[in-house]
C-alpha cells in the first residue's frame, strides 16, 4: 500500500519534473532506491545539471552500500544471486531482515528476499501508473503535483527525524539550501548540505 503510493508519487513526480515515462520506469527498474530516485528528479526539476543530480542521488545511495555490508554475511550468496541480492538491498528489505534477527538467520534471509522482491514489483508497477497519469494531466500545477513532490520528500524525511540533533540539522539544511539558491548553480545548494551532515556526524 505505502510502496504503491510512493511508486505512484515517484512516477508522477518524475514526469512532472521533465523526465519521460520510459526514463521514469528505467529509474525505478535500475536505480530502485526511492530517495535516490526522488533526488535525481528533484535536482533536474529544479534546473540542476545531470552531474548534480547523479551526485545527490549517489550520496543517498551510499546507505544501500552499508546495508549490503550488513546483509552479505547473512545471505551468503555468490555470482548471479549476489547481483540480484545487491539490486534489492534497500531500506525496506534490510529493515525487515534485521527485524527478524531474533528468529535466526533463515528468517532474516526469508524476510530480505520476500520484502525485496515484493517492493520491487509494486514499486515498478506503480511507477508506470504514476508516470502515465502525470503525462495525461498536462499542466501539473492544476493538479497540485508541484506540491506533491515536496510533500513526498517531507514524507521520506519525517520518520528519520528522531532526535533534536536530527531536527536542527534538517532546519539548518533548509535555511542553507534556500540561502544558497540565488548564489550557487541549481543542484549545488542541495549537494552541499551533505557536507553539513558529515560535519555533524564527525562531531557526534
Amino acid at each position: 500500500m505505502t510502496v504503491g503510493a510512493y511508486g505512484t508519487a515517484f512516477g508522477a513526480a518524475a514526469v512532472a519534473n521533465g523526465f519521460s515515462v520510459l526514463q521514469s520506469c528505467l529509474l525505478s527498474l535500475l536505480t530502485f532506491s526511492g530517495a535516490s530516485q526522488f533526488a535525481v528528479i528533484g535536482v533536474l526539476g529544479a534546473g540542476g545539471g545531470a552531474i548534480s543530480g547523479i551526485a545527490t542521488a549517489s550520496l543517498l545511495g551510499i546507505r544501500n552500500g552499508l546495508y549490503g555490508v550488513i546483509m552479505a554475511p547473512r545471505l551468503k550468496v555468490k555470482g548471479f544471486k549476489r547481483i540480484v541480492a545487491a539490486q534489492i538491498t534497500i531500506d525496506e528489505s534490510t529493515a525487515v531482515a534485521l527485524g527478524q534477527e531474533i528468529r535466526g538467520e533463515k528468517a532474516m534471509r526469508q524476510g530480505f528476499w520476500l520484502t525485496g522482491f515484493g517492493v520491487f514489483i509494486f514499486w515498478n508497477l506503480f511507477t508506470v501508473a504514476g508516470a502515465l497519469g502525470a503525462q495525461a494531466m498536462g499542466d501539473i500545477r492544476v493538479w497540485g503535483l508541484d506540491s506533491a513532490v515536496p510533500a513526498a520528500f517531507l514524507g521520506l524525511v519525517w520518520p528519520r527525524l528522531k532526535t533534536n540533533r536530527d531536527r536542527i540539522l534538517a532546519i539548518t539544511c533548509v535555511v542553507f539550501a534556500l540561502a544558497m539558491t540565488p548564489i550557487l548553480p541549481a543542484g549545488l545548494p542541495i549537494i552541499a548540505t551533505a557536507f553539513i551532515a558529515v560535519a555533524v556526524g564527525l562531531r557526534a
Partner: protein, 102 residues
Amino acid sequence: MNAFWVATIGTSVIAFLLKYTGHNVPERIFSHPKVQAINALIPIALLSALVAVQTFTEKSKLIIDHRLAGLGVAILALLLKAPFPIVVISAAFTSAAIYNWL
C-alpha cells in the same frame, strides 16, 4: 543524449555499484560509530534541502506561492500521523485548490 538521459543512466549505474560494492567488502570496515552516524544524517540533510528547494524556489529565485500551502497541509497531516498517501494527496489537493481558484 540530453541531461535527463545522462542522469537516468548515471544514477542507475552508480546506485547498483554502491549496492554491489557493499556486498563485497568486509563488515568491520563500516562498523565505526561515526560512519553509522553520518550514514543516518546524510539522508536527513539532502531530503530537507530538497523539500525547501522544491517548495520555495523557481529557477534560482526564491518565491512563495501555492506550494507553501501544500507543504503546510503536508506538515499538518504528518503531525496528525497520517499515512504517506494522505500526506501527498492532501498537499496536492490544497495546492491545486489555491492555484485554480485564487
